[in-house]
């Protein structure tokens, strides 16, 4: 331990005294709390307006629209696949191309109805 003015120097105790915590001024508390309250209010307003407006804003429909589109695409693909699978059978049964087209359309409508009923 070092000496100062004939006495041992307890540097750590001196540091604790010299660097005693400083109480923030009351005005600072008010200032910070006001700013934080403003930010909180702003965030709450934004959140509430988002929640209320979310279903009115077409940009927020993306997920359900995509889900619907994906479902519709998958359903359409299934109808086409089934109709194609039965194409040879219809071809053999049909009298002419017009009859084939009529049978194909009828089969597609029937498959789409089946899918919609699930």
């Amino acid at each position: 331990m070092s000496q100062t003015a004939g006495r041992p120097l307890d540097i750590e105790s001196m540091l604790r005294l010299a660097l005693s915590p400083v109480e923030p001024p009351a005005a600072l508390r008010t200032r910070v709390e006001t700013r934080l309250q403003e930010l909180t209010d702003l965030a709450v307003d934004e959140l509430e307006s988002w929640e209320l407006g979310s279903m009115r804003d077409p940009r927020n429909w993306a997920r359900p629209v995509i889900a619907t589109a994906v479902g519709a695409t998958a359903g359409t693909a299934l109808v086409v696949l089934r109709v194609r699978q039965q194409h040879r059978k219809r071809q053999a049964a049909s009298h002419d191309p017009l009859d084939l087209a009529r049978r194909t359309l009828k089969a597609a409508s029937a498959e789409a109805r089946k899918l919609a009923q699930r």
């Binding site: 540097i11 005294l17 010299a18 400083v22 109480e23 923030p24 910070v32 959140l47 509430e48």
Partner: protein, 174 residues
Amino acid sequence: MDSAHKARLDREFSDLYRAHLRDVYSYAYYRIGNHHDAEDLTEQTFLQAYRHFERAQAESDGRPLRPWLIRIAHNLAANLYRDRSRRPQTPIDDTTVLRTQHTTEDLVEGRDELARILESIKQLPDERREALIMRFSLGMDNREIARAMGKSDGATKVLLHRAIKQLEGIVTAP
């Protein structure tokens, strides 16, 4: 994020603010050296902390957030000096500190020594000065200081040891 979650976060941030306003202000004051800039730095620290609170809380894994707060203040103080391209111009207002923080006995017996300590702290490199502020003003342990300064526990221990030794050398120099 729903309203209930937001309200819970705000409550928790409010608790953090109340618990550590004095820490942040003390750090800012001893780091910068004047009340005016210390107030600005404290305000900016909490505003920035509020913006990133949710992520910090998620990443803290239950550990105290004081080192994170002090790290924000540390970064802001570094930016302040970089912007102004200078070290503190205003000396620490030791008269105010002594008058408001210390007892009469301290004033009588140790005023000169405390003033000398404060003057000597200013001569230390920034990193050592900061480590001393965190330890002796805020009472942070090595692990907390390490997190606040982005160092390992071992490096922090060495940093503090060297800071105290250097300060001792300055204070006792003839």
